[in-house]
């Protein structure tokens, strides 16, 4: 049976601002990958600030059912197909579902393939995936903040005072990132910033100074990092929680 290909774009219902965004994204990956495997569909997925772009290939009936399922999936909104056609052979035969991170080798390969089979579709996808500020010619790199969601984030070096003046949240953030780094979800849990947007802005500032090291995680790695079992509830207040509460009370009086 000939191989068909479809490229579609949709918006995720859960806002990237939500603390559960990464967790829901991981659940979607897990479900989609299992479905694709069961229906001989191979696919690559790109996520950009709540927008999903998926390249899927397989037998036409299976792809049709996939699109029908996605259209009915309440987690995905404003779904629109930007390309559908026939292929001589699969482009991504090894991937039931591969998460593409902008700047990764796999992303470049996928984009090159897409440009080859349909330049207009490639242009559309690039437009959808473009970060809000691109300026490759400046000395400080303009990063893609949305890739933080699926990454392990660390700090190459402590920021110099001449580079950036760290405020209180900034010092806490950098303290966490120095060393092996943490996943984005863990940073959100620490409540260092009032909103995810402010956290992303802070990360972007560090990234623009070439201080950030961002290691994109595979879907398996992302699953593992997000599926840590919750610790059993404690009967007594832990030292950490007691001290946090104490500091919060003192902070209210100070500020």
């Amino acid at each position: 049976m000939p191989i068909a290909c479809v490229v579609y774009i949709c918006e995720l219902k859960t806002s990237p601002e939500s603390s559960s965004f990464s967790h829901e994204l991981a659940n979607l990956f897990r479900f989609s990958r299992a479905y694709n495997k069961a229906h001989n569909i191979t696919s690559a997925l790109f996520v950009n600030d709540g927008t999903c772009i998926q390249f899927a290939e397989g037998e036409t009936p299976n792809l049709n059912q996939l699109m029908a399922n996605n259209s009915a999936d309440s987690r995905q909104r404003n779904l629109r197909i930007v390309y559908s056609g026939q292929l001589k052979s699969r482009i991504f035969p090894e991937w039931n579902l591969k998460l593409l991170a902008r700047g990764s080798k796999e992303y470049d390969v996928a984009m090159a393939q897409l440009e080859r089979i349909h330049p207009e579709c490639f242009a559309e996808v690039l437009h959808q995936s473009k970060p809000s500020n691109i300026n490759d010619k400046t000395q400080t790199r303009t990063p893609t903040p949305k890739s933080y969601f699926t990454s392990n984030i660390g700090l190459n070096a402590w920021p110099k005072a001449s580079q950036i003046s760290l405020d209180r949240p900034g010092m806490r953030l950098c303290s966490l990132l120095i060393g092996q780094g943490v996943v984005f979800d863990e940073l959100v849990k620490r409540n260092i910033y009032p909103s995810n947007r402010q956290l992303i802005q802070a990360l972007s500032q560090l990234d623009a100074l070439n201080l950030l090291k961002v290691e994109h995680l595979s879907t398996d790695e992302l699953d593992n990092s997000l599926s840590q079992p919750n610790p059993p509830p404690k009967r007594t207040l832990s030292f950490a929680q007691a001290l946090r509460d104490f500091i919060r009370l003192k902070a209210v009086k100070l500020w």
């Binding site: 303290s175 260092i192 207040l237």
Partner: protein, 188 residues
């Protein structure tokens, strides 16, 4: 002499070690955070070190977080001749805070010795470096100090933040505690 963590069914006690050069602000930081009078003895030093007083012995303070939860604050003497006291305190601390007074002549060798002693025995405890007396310093001076400290940390393969704090400020001292909370992986 000093236990690391004492926990009974109802009480929890953890220890924060504060070490640093002469005049870096250890005594001040312990004073700021303690809710009880610190048991610091401050006799006049027999050696002229440019200060009226020098700290001898151990600065001790205690932060009563709740009636059953406390954080002990142990300020270690800065002079090398009291380094034998480091081992007495260096047992399972909750965290190690090293204060470095901003100056052109930061004693890198002393800093390295201190880090080697503490880090070799407490590889699971988080370390935080904090530069003091930087309120009126230029960014260039701060950069230089941070670089020197960063180079020492890098040589010893220690990951630690390098904060700027004012030990007189409760807000600044509370930030230090928040950073230790963030870095501690235990949940007890």
């Amino acid at each position: 002499m000093v236990a690391g963590v004492q926990t009974s069914a109802d009480n929890t006690y953890k220890k924060l070690v504060v070490a640093g050069q002469i005049g870096s602000g250890k005594t001040q930081l312990v004073n700021t955070l303690s809710q009880i009078s610190p048991l610091a003895s401050e006799p006049r030093s027999s050696i002229d070190i440019g200060k009226d007083l020098a700290t001898v012995g151990i600065d001790y303070g205690r932060l009563m977080v709740t009636e059953n939860v406390a954080l002990g604050l142990y300020g270690l003497p800065g002079q090398d001749r009291f380094s034998f006291l480091w081992d007495m305190i260096n047992q399972c601390p909750w965290g190690v805070l090293i204060l470095v007074k901003l100056s052109k002549d930061i004693d890198i060798n002393w800093l390295k010795r201190l880090l080697i002693v503490f880090h070799s025995k407490n590889q699971n405890a988080p370390f935080v470096m904090a530069i003091t007396h930087a309120e009126k310093a230029s960014t260039e001076a701060i950069d230089e100090a941070q670089k020197k400290i960063g180079d020492v940390l890098s040589d010893l393969q220690i990951d630690a933040p390098i904060l700027l704090i004012d030990p007189r400020s409760l807000s600044s001292c509370l930030l230090v505690l928040e950073v230790f909370l963030d870095l501690n992986t235990d949940t007890e």
